[in-house]
C-alpha cells in the first residue's frame, strides 16, 4: 500500500466571490519533493496555509503525515516544518534565542533546546552571528534561520513557501543544497515557487496551478514534453539552401520544420533526440549544405507553463486575490 505524506482532495477555499482554491488535488509520496508552480495569486500560499493548519477550508479533505488537518491539527503540527515567504522569526531575539525559544515550544527540555540550537546554528553557518538580533541579519541569513527553526524537530513534511524569493543567487543555491540534504535524509518537501528553474532543480513532480486549480501535473520532463518536447535547430550559411534543407530534415524528424529565412534557421520537433540529431547532421553533410550552427534545444518549463496557462509564470492572471490573511506591513 502506498501511503502519501500529503493528500488533498477537492480542497476549496473562497474569499467572498474569489475562489482562492477550487477542487485542488494533491498527493505527495514520502521522501520526494513536490513543486507547486504558479503565478502570484494562483493559490499556492493558500494551499500551504491550509495544509499547515493555519487556514480553514470550505470543502474537501486534507491529510498531512497521515493525520487529518482539520480534526487532528496538533498531530499535524508536531510533524511539520514551515518556512514561509516572509521569514517568521523574532527580530529582537538573537539567532540562538530564536532557536531555543522554538525548541522549548517544540517541547524540548532546556538543555536539549540549547544543544539543538547550537547544532543548527553551526549547520546553517550562523554560529558567528548567533548572538546578534535576527533583525540585523541579511535576507539570506534570516531565511536560513527561518529554515533552521523549521527543522528543530526533524519534520516528516517540510513546507517551503517560496523559500528563495528575494534571495541572491548564492543564497538561493545554499537553500537548494540544504533542501536536497533534507530530502536525502528522508524528509518529504512541498515547495511553492514562481521560479521554473527552482521547480526544475528540486522537484520530483510538479503541479502547475492557476486560478486555484491544478492545470497539469507530472515530472519536470513530462511537463516539458507537453509543449512538444525538444527541437532541433539548424542555421544554414546560405538562405537559398533553407528550403532544400527543410525537405531533407522533414522525413527524418517526421514533422514539417518551421523556417525563419531572416536568420536562416529551421526548427523542427524531435522525439528521439540524439539519433535525430545524428541523422540530420549526416543528411545535411551528404547533401553538401553548409551549416553554420546546429543544436538541440530542450523545451523549458517556461514554455510548458506558457503552453498550459496561456501566460508567463511571473505575470499574475488577474488582480491578485488576498492570498495571505495576515498582511505584511
Amino acid at each position: 500500500m502506498t501511503t502519501f505524506e500529503v493528500v488533498a482532495e477537492g480542497l476549496g477555499k473562497r474569499y467572498g466571490p474569489t475562489r482562492a482554491l477550487d477542487a485542488f488535488d494533491l498527493t505527495v509520496p514520502p521522501g520526494t519533493v513536490h513543486g507547486l508552480l504558479g503565478p502570484n495569486g494562483a493559490g499556492k500560499t493558500t494551499a500551504v496555509r491550509i495544509l499547515t493548519t493555519l487556514l480553514r477550508f470550505d470543502t474537501g479533505r486534507a491529510t498531512v503525515a497521515g493525520y487529518d488537518v482539520l480534526r487532528r491539527p496538533d498531530e499535524v503540527r508536531a510533524r511539520i516544518g514551515l518556512t514561509g515567504q516572509y521569514a517568521a522569526v523574532d527580530e529582537i531575539l538573537s539567532g540562538r534565542q530564536n532557536l531555543e525559544l522554538f525548541g522549548r515550544l517544540f517541547r524540548l527540555g532546556r538543555r536539549e533546546a540549547r544543544r539543538r540550537a547550537g547544532e543548527l546554528l553551526e549547520r546553517f553557518g550562523l554560529d558567528e552571528a548567533a548572538s546578534r538580533s535576527a533583525g540585523e541579519y541579511s535576507g539570506g541569513m534570516r531565511r536560513r534561520l527561518d529554515l533552521a527553526a523549521s527543522l528543530i524537530r526533524t519534520p516528516r513534511v517540510l513546507f517551503l513557501d517560496e523559500p528563495t524569493t528575494g534571495l541572491d543567487p548564492r543564497s538561493r543555491n545554499q537553500v537548494w543544497d540544504l533542501v536536497r540534504g533534507l530530502v536525502a535524509d528522508g524528509t518529504t518537501v512541498l515547495l511553492t515557487t514562481q521560479y521554473l528553474e527552482e521547480a526544475d532543480q528540486l522537484a520530483d513532480r510538479i503541479s502547475v496551478i492557476d486560478a486555484g486549480r491544478v492545470v497539469a501535473e507530472g515530472s519536470p520532463d513530462q511537463l516539458k514534453a507537453m509543449t512538444g518536447g525538444d527541437r532541433i535547430e539548424v542555421v544554414v550559411r546560405d538562405a537559398a539552401e533553407l528550403s532544400r534543407a527543410a525537405r531533407l530534415v522533414a522525413p527524418i524528424c517526421g514533422a514539417e520544420p518551421e523556417l525563419d529565412p531572416v536568420i536562416r534557421r529551421l526548427s523542427v520537433p524531435v522525439l528521439d533526440r540524439v539519433a535525430g540529431l545524428v541523422d540530420v547532421v549526416r543528411a545535411l553533410d551528404d547533401a553538401g549544405i553548409a551549416v553554420e550552427d546546429i543544436g538541440l534545444r530542450r523545451a523549458t518549463l517556461d514554455e510548458a507553463f506558457l503552453h498550459l496557462t496561456g501566460h508567463r509564470p511571473d505575470e499574475a492572471r488577474e488582480p491578485v486575490a488576498a492570498e495571505r490573511t495576515v498582511e505584511v506591513a
Partner: protein, 261 residues
C-alpha cells in the same frame, strides 16, 4: 493544562527578553510618568488646588500611577501587532504549542513589566514627598488594584492589535486616545472643580475609580465629593477592570481564532 502553563511561561520569558534586548521602549515608558510628575508637580502644581485641600504632589502621584498603567496599552498593542505583522505568529500557530500561550505570555510579561514600572515610580514618588499613610497592607492592596487595571488594559491592547494589525496604526490610535482619557478623569484635577458635564464624565471614567480608590488606600488627599462613583470608588476599581476583562478577553480570543479564516 500543564503544557498551556509551560508554553505561556516560555512566551512570558520571550517577551521579557525583548525588554532586556530592546530597552529603548522601556526607557520611554519610564520617562513619561516621571516627566508628568515633574511637569505637573512642579510647573503647573503651584497653580493647582486640591478639592478639600492637601498637597498637590501627594494628590498627583496616585493619578500618575494609574496613567502609567494606561500607557502600557501602547506597549501591549504595539508588541502584539508587531508579532502579527512579522509573520512570527504564523510560525507559532504552525507549531504544536498551546494556542493560549501567545496571549497569556503577553499578559504575564506585561504584568511583570508593570511591577517594574510601579517600583520605579514608587521610589520616584517618595523622592518628591509622596507617601502612603495607612500602612503597608493597604498600600499593597492599592498596588494590587493597579495591577488588576493593567491586566484589563492588556486585554484591550491585545484586542486592539488583533483588530488593527499594523503596528504603526496602533501607535497612531493609542497615544491620541490615551491622553484625553487620562486628562478627563481625576488624575490631574479634582472633578468637583471641573465644569459639571465634564466633571461627571470624569467621575465615571474607569481610570478615576482606580485613582480614587488608591488615594483612599494610600491615605492621599483629594477623596472626591459625595457623588456615587466617588463614594464607591473601591467597588468600582474592582468592577471596571473585571468588566473590561470579561468583555475584551473573549473578543480577543475570538479574533485570534479568526486568523485561520
Amino acid at each position: 493544562m500543564t503544557t498551556a502553563i509551560a508554553d505561556g511561561w516560555t512566551m512570558t520569558r520571550r517577551n521579557m527578553t525583548h525588554v532586556v534586548r530592546a530597552p529603548e521602549e522601556l526607557i520611554l515608558y519610564f520617562s513619561l510618568p516621571i516627566m508628568f510628575v515633574l511637569v505637573f508637580g512642579y510647573v503647573f502644581g503651584s497653580g493647582m488646588q486640591v478639592a478639600g485641600g492637601g498637597n498637590y504632589r501627594e494628590f498627583l502621584l496616585p493619578g500618575v500611577f494609574v496613567m502609567t498603567m494606561l500607557y502600557g496599552l501602547g506597549a501591549t498593542a504595539t508588541g502584539v501587532a508587531l508579532d502579527l505583522s512579522r509573520g512570527v505568529v504564523d510560525r507559532f500557530r504552525s507549531m504544536p504549542m498551546a494556542r493560549s500561550a501567545l496571549m497569556t505570555g503577553r499578559s504575564a510579561a506585561d504584568l511583570l513589566r508593570a511591577l517594574l514600572e510601579m517600583s520605579t515610580l514608587l521610589v520616584c514618588g517618595l523622592l518628591v514627598g509622596w507617601q502612603w499613610r495607612q500602612g503597608v497592607g493597604k498600600a499593597m492592596l492599592a498596588v494590587g488594584l493597579l495591577l488588576l487595571l493593567r491586566i484589563a488594559i492588556t486585554w484591550v491592547g491585545i484586542y486592539l492589535a488583533l483588530l488593527v494589525r499594523n503596528p504603526d496604526t496602533v501607535g497612531v490610535i493609542v497615544f491620541p486616545a490615551a491622553f484625553p482619557l487620562s486628562a478627563i478623569s481625576n488624575v490631574f484635577v479634582s472633578p468637583e472643580l471641573m465644569p459639571p458635564v465634564i466633571g461627571t464624565i470624569s467621575e465615571w471614567n474607569p481610570l478615576s475609580a482606580t485613582v480614587a480608590a488608591i488615594r483612599e488606600l494610600f491615605g492621599n488627599p483629594g477623596l472626591g465629593g459625595d457623588s456615587w462613583p466617588a463614594e464607591h470608588a473601591l467597588l468600582l476599581a474592582v468592577l471596571w477592570p473585571v468588566l473590561l476583562i470579561a468583555t475584551f478577553a473573549p473578543l480577543a480570543v475570538r479574533r485570534y481564532q479568526r486568523l485561520s479564516r
